[in-house]
């Protein structure tokens, strides 16, 4: 990934920053300057919003043949998660047996390494999720999204 591209996405990736639409009272992730449901009226009415990072698993799969750059994680759990504010994201669920993740489970976001770029040498960080009842809750308190400084 190029340096400008990674820099541009930092806020959204690191801090789970999306958008709140004042017209329809809805939340959007990733950040949008325009809400497709509200149309052009929403331009100028979208405010940055930091998601709480809590949500529910909609669906999950155990990936045995890993994505490029994720070979070290395999097998790992990929899921579609519905954030409590409404929008859905695709993310890895970590720190658990991937086969145990089921739809309906509560999850919360953590700050983790996503990978590194062999060409540019950039380390990618971003948001992943853990099960809310994860036993190392206390340990992960430190890396909740509010505590990350850019």
């Amino acid at each position: 990934m190029s340096v400008p591209r990674f820099w541009r996405e930092l806020d959204t990736r690191y801090n789970l920053i999306g958008s709140y639409c004042k017209i329809t009272d809805t939340y959007h992730y990733p950040r949008r300057s325009f809400n497709p449901e509200a149309g052009r009226e929403s331009i100028g009415s979208m405010e940055d919003y930091q998601f709480k990072g809590t949500g529910t698993v909609v669906t999950a799969t155990v990936v045995h043949q890993a994505q490029t750059g994720y070979e070290m994680f395999g097998p790992y759990c990929m899921a579609i998660i519905e954030l409590d504010e409404g929008p859905r994201v695709t993310s890895q669920i970590v720190d658990c047996d991937p086969a145990n993740v089921k739809s309906g489970m509560k999850v919360k976001s953590v700050f983790r390494k996503l990978g590194e770029d062999s060409e540019s040498g950039i380390l990618h960080y971003g948001t992943k999720f853990i099960l809310s009842n994860n036993s190392d809750d206390a340990e992960t308190e430190e890396d909740t999204i509010e505590n990350i400084e850019l």
């Binding site: 669906t59 990936v63 043949q65 490029t68 990929m78 993310s91």
Partner: protein, 388 residues
């Protein structure tokens, strides 16, 4: 609008074609198609090229000019246009040529699709395929293209009780069809139990649920129908064409077990010709995964939602069943060379409607449909063909 006919076809075998370059594949199929049509290069008004990934796999963009050049068309200076919509590139290239001819801008177009997926490593070609989904918010987060379809399959199972046995029947059926197609990448039968026992890729999808990433090329010649008779007496008319889009990311969809873009594109194509799903004699659908074929059958309206999987297990989509599906072997067994796939589907239908499909011929085939999509069906394109 003018009527448009397909007057010539040419295709390579799909597979690991390490001894052939993109330009050679383009030339080979282009020549075969114009020979089949009985035209000369002077008759060609325009060239359309379906290609998804030459930039990623070959470090070569601008493949429209490249293929025109190596087909000997550079000194005629005809317009050459590349069309890209991930795995729907080929079907979409046909639609662009169809619209240009129907609209009266040109009379004859050659539409070629070509792809080289095996020059690079498996992990590179897999990542290239992921670029048809949302690279930034799906692939980069760790979601393989298979894992997105795995989540689709799980939701289909949850909603309708779709089973492993039913999914396996789709791959086994497509392999049976491929065993009758000498041009298929995997021209051998495979029994459903082998599919069910193959290695896990992303739960619940297994190795043999997935189509390969192939090299290959395919080309067709499209002509205004009123001029077709001048060249050939075996033209096949395109009587319906539809295209639709959807969110690029799967997670932004309301339902995870449906492909609405296919439904909308199919409805538009049926409206064009005033036909309905029950009128069709055979279809080719985009079975990049077994679950995709089942959903496509439901979105096109061949079967009610939730019934296609059992109909597949019952043999209704096999040769001799009520709607033979993917008689070529489909993406699973004919092979899947993204830019060429949508064109290969059309070629299978043309061969069937001409009565030239050999051992896999559908008796008395008159009306056929092709469904081609890109990403998790963020682009879908549907064509309906009729024997003249």
């Amino acid at each position: 609008m003018r009527d448009v006919s397909i007057i010539g076809v040419g295709i390579t075998k799909f597979g690991e074609l390490w001894d052939k370059s993109l330009r050679e594949l383009g030339l080979e199929t282009g020549l075969a198609a114009i020979n089949d049509a009985g035209i000369t290069s002077n008759d060609i008004d325009a060239l359309y090229i379906g290609n998804m990934a030459a930039g990623s796999t070959l470090q070569q963009e601008h493949v429209s000019a490249l293929i025109a050049d190596y087909c000997g068309l550079a000194n005629q200076n005809i317009p050459a246009t590349r069309v890209e919509a991930a795995s729907a590139s080929g079907g979409l290239a046909i639609r662009q040529a169809y619209m240009a001819i129907a609209g009266g801008f040109i009379d004859i177009a050659v539409v070629g699709g070509a792809e080289k997926m095996t020059d690079v490593s498996d992990s590179e070609s897999s990542y290239t395929v992921s670029m048809g989904s949302d690279e930034q918010w799906e692939a980069k987060a760790g979601a393989t293209f298979t894992s997105l379809h795995a989540m689709i399959a799980q939701n289909h199972m949850l909603e309708y009780g779709t089973t492993r046995e039913q999914l396996s029947s789709v791959a086994a059926k497509n392999h049976y069809h491929a065993s009758l197609n000498p041009m298929a990448q995997f021209p051998f039968a495979l029994d459903a139990a082998a599919v069910s026992k193959s290695g896990m890729v992303s739960t619940p999808l297994r190795m043999l649920d997935c189509a390969p990433n192939s090299d290959g090329a395919a080309a067709v010649v499209l002509c205004a129908s009123d001029k077709a008779k001048k060249f050939t007496d075996k033209s096949i008319k395109i009587i319906g064409s539809g295209q639709a889009s959807d969110t690029l990311s799967l997670h932004h969809r309301k339902y995870l077990h449906r492909f609405p873009a296919i439904n909308i594109a199919a409805k538009k194509a049926f409206e064009d010709c005033n036909k309905k799903p029950g009128d069709l004699d055979l279809i080719e659908v985009h079975d990049n995964f077994t679950i995709s074929e089942i959903i496509a059958l439901e979105e096109i309206g061949i079967f009610k939602r939730g019934e296609a999987a059992q109909k597949s297990l019952d043999g209704e989509t096999k040769l001799g069943g009520i709607i033979p599906t993917n008689t070529s072997g489909g993406l699973k067994a004919r092979g899947h060379a993204p830019g060429a796939t949508g064109i290969a589907q059309i070629i299978e239908l043309v061969k069937q409607l001409r009565g030239e499909a050999g051992d896999r011929q559908v008796k008395n085939a008159k009306l056929a449909l092709a469904e081609n999509h890109g990403g998790t069906a963020a682009t879908a394109v549907v064509h309906i063909l009729e024997a003249e």
